[in-house]
Symmetry: C2
Subunit: 197 residues, 2 copies
C-alpha cells in the first residue's frame, strides 16, 4: 500500500514542485498525475490548493514576469541618460533571472498552446519592447552606435541573457556571483570585449 | 487504400525531411513511423537508405559540425592577430549557422540520450573550446580585456550566437543578409553598443 505524504503544502511550496516538474517534462508533457507523484500528495489534495495545472503555470510565470517588470520601476531604470538606464535594466534583468532561475526558465520555454502561455509570451514581448525603447533612446542621445539595427541588437542581447537558463548552474548563488555575471553581460554588450583605444 | 509515394529519395533528400521532423517533434519523440509519414514512403524504403533514425541523426549533426569545423581551417581563422582570427571565426560561425539553420538547430538541441547525441555534444564542446582558446590568445596579446572571465564570455558569446536558431526566420536568405547579422554579432561582442570615446 502506498502511503501518501500528509499535505503540508501551501500554494507557494506546491508551486516550486510544479515548476521543477514543468521544466523537466515540459508543461505539455506534465499531467496532474505527474504533479501528484512529485509532490507526494493526492490529486484531490492538489485541487484543494489550485484549480489545475494551468493555474500553477500562471502563478509560476507571473512570479518571473513580476520580478522582471519590477526592475523597470526601480529608480535606476528611470533616472539619468538612457544608456545608463538600459545598462541598469540589463544588469538587473540578469540578476532577477538568476534569482528566479526555475521560474524564468519556465517563462522562456512556454510555447503558446494555452491562453496562459500566450499571455505570458505577450508579456515577455512587452518587456523586450520596453528594453528596445530604452536602446533606441540611447541611440537618439548619441550614446549608442546609430549603425546597429536596434531590433536585431535587442534580440541578440536577450539571446545572450536568456541563454543563462540553458547553461548556468549555480554553485554558490550569492549576490556577489549574480553581480559578477550581470557585470560581464553588461561589459560584453555595451563596451565589447576589445580593450579600449 | 493509402498509396505510398514512389521512393525517389536519396540519403541526402531524405535527410532534409528527417531533420525537419526531428526539429518539430524532438529526436526522442520521433519514430520511424513519423519519418515514414512525413516522407510519404514506407518504413522499409527508409531502411533501404539508412540503418535507422540514429544514422539520420548522425548524418544531420555531422553536416552541422563539418560546416562549423571547416571555419577553423579557413585562412582567416589562421592568419593575423588572435583578435582578428576570433572575430573572423565568430562572423563565419554565424554565417554557417544561418546557411545550415535546420542542421545546426538539431545539433544545438540534442540532449545526450544516445551515443550519437553524446558524440555530437562532445564535438560541440570541442568547437567551443577552440574558440575559447582564440579568445584567451587575444587576451594574452593585449587586444581583449583581461578583466573578463573568458569561460563566461565564451558561454555568453555562444548564447548570443546560438539564440539565432530560436528566433531567426529567414525572409530572404541571401549572403548579404547573413553578413549583416554576422557583422552585428561581431560588433556587439567585440566593440560593444556604445559609441567610441
Amino acid at each position: 500500500m502506498t502511503t501518501a505524504k500528509r499535505d503540508t503544502y501551501t500554494p507557494e511550496t506546491l508551486l516550486s514542485v510544479a515548476v521543477r516538474v514543468f521544466n523537466e517534462r515540459g508543461y505539455d508533457g506534465t499531467s496532474m498525475e505527474h504533479l501528484s507523484k512529485a509532490a507526494g500528495i493526492s490529486k484531490s489534495s492538489i485541487y484543494h490548493h489550485v484549480s489545475g495545472k494551468e493555474e500553477l503555470l500562471r502563478r509560476a510565470v507571473s512570479r518571473a514576469l513580476d520580478g522582471l517588470f519590477a526592475v523597470l520601476d526601480e529608480p535606476g531604470a528611470g533616472q539619468g541618460r538612457a544608456v545608463e538606464r538600459v545598462e541598469y535594466v540589463t544588469r538587473r534583468t540578469v540578476e532577477v533571472l538568476i534569482e528566479e532561475l526555475p521560474y524564468v526558465t519556465l517563462l522562456l520555454r512556454v510555447r503558446g498552446n494555452t491562453a496562459t502561455e500566450r499571455w505570458a509570451m505577450e508579456r515577455r514581448r512587452e518587456f523586450d519592447h520596453r528594453v528596445a525603447d530604452l536602446l533606441k533612446a540611447a541611440v537618439a542621445e548619441g550614446d549608442l552606435r546609430a549603425d546597429v539595427d536596434i531590433r536585431l541588437a535587442t534580440r541578440l542581447l536577450f539571446g545572450m541573457i536568456n541563454s543563462l537558463v540553458e547553461w548556468y548552474r549555480p554553485h554558490t548563488d550569492t549576490a556577489a556571483e549574480r553581480q559578477r555575471i550581470a557585470g560581464t553581460v553588461v561589459h560584453l554588450a555595451f563596451d565589447g570585449l576589445r580593450t579600449a583605444g
